[in-house]
Symmetry: C2
Subunit: 199 residues, 2 copies
Amino acid sequence: MAADEAATPVKRPRVTAEREREVLAATLQALSDTGYEALSMEDVAARAHCSKATLYRLWHNKAGLVSAAIRSSGPVRPAEVDTGSLRGDLITVAERLAQHATEDSRLYAALSHAILTDDELASAVQTALFRPDTEHVMRFIDRAVERGELTHRPAAADFLPQTMRSLAMSRPALDGTLLDSDYLARFIDDWVMPALLHT
Amino acid sequence: MAADEAATPVKRPRVTAEREREVLAATLQALSDTGYEALSMEDVAARAHCSKATLYRLWHNKAGLVSAAIRSSGPVRPAEVDTGSLRGDLITVAERLAQHATEDSRLYAALSHAILTDDELASAVQTALFRPDTEHVMRFIDRAVERGELTHRPAAADFLPQTMRSLAMSRPALDGTLLDSDYLARFIDDWVMPALLHT
DNA sequence: ACTCGATGAAACACTTGCGTTTCATCGAGT
DNA sequence: ACTCGATGAAACGCAAGTGTTTCATCGAGT
């Protein structure tokens, strides 16, 4: 029995850690469905199958819970992409964006007003959701330069991550359609690649 | 005294129409500040200096009031832009976007989650806010083609309005800074113009 | 000056949510 | 088997919002 417990140096925390992730996942779900302002602790408790008391024991209030939930969604790192060509890399990441467009855009929409006034929330969204993505895309550019596919880091590269991200986030709202990968592929071929190649 | 009343063929409605616009303007203000879900009728009534009873007499509920407010913001047409060059037109409209970036992005953020589920709201936002803007920008392209500045309507043009709009909407949220005109100029020169000129 | 419909202020009943507290129960370590 | 800290269920007081209703007042048309 020593072997059983050797895997868990700390007594109970590990069980709590699993549970915590479940609760935070339920929080993100509720957030997407309800929006930040209308999110209720009772709803989260029901989805997470835990009591409201437990929520308040672990986090102080709604803001804390939501911030924690957002930060917890960060470490889910996407597999590294390296197709050998800049266009291939971009298309791949675009398809990935399109796959998650529904959930992602709902989550972002749920938070977009709240982050304008809540600084902690804003930094959570920024570091957990946007920064990794931005760095990810920027690596494509650097690799393309190393390969000689681009002669230098184009000025347009500064706008690439934000544009892709904000297009993915706001297109559903703008015209009621979801992002499909065809649309993004056209964007890459008709806009992104020409801009990168000619600056 | 016949002259005084000659200006008002209808008895009271005209007075109500002015008042209505004030109330709807107050609604938009409250919406930007509070967000759609947390918007309260009491808040609107206080800002508009009218009673809650009046709000419910003129509109049936919150959804109706907000939709009306959004539609009322449509007719405020921006002055037509025509600087003689595509770049000039784009810079001008970009600066105009930047000027209103704070209020506009707050308003959009306030609505972005609600429009995912409320169809009437979605169509109000689309027709009143986005469609006029899109047509406006598209006219730049057409004129540039007529002038011979572009040999044809570039494929990238399809993405231009959405790209500009979504940047204006989401950049404040993404990195906490507002749009300034230097940034926008770089955006046009390094990102938009190359894409338009090389497709 | 008078009338009458529209308005504002305020209270209404009702619902919902927050954050706290109480208490019975459960389950891991001894 | 026993103990003790953590949990879930449920109720709490409090605050806020919805949509309605009442009533006093105001102001435009006669």
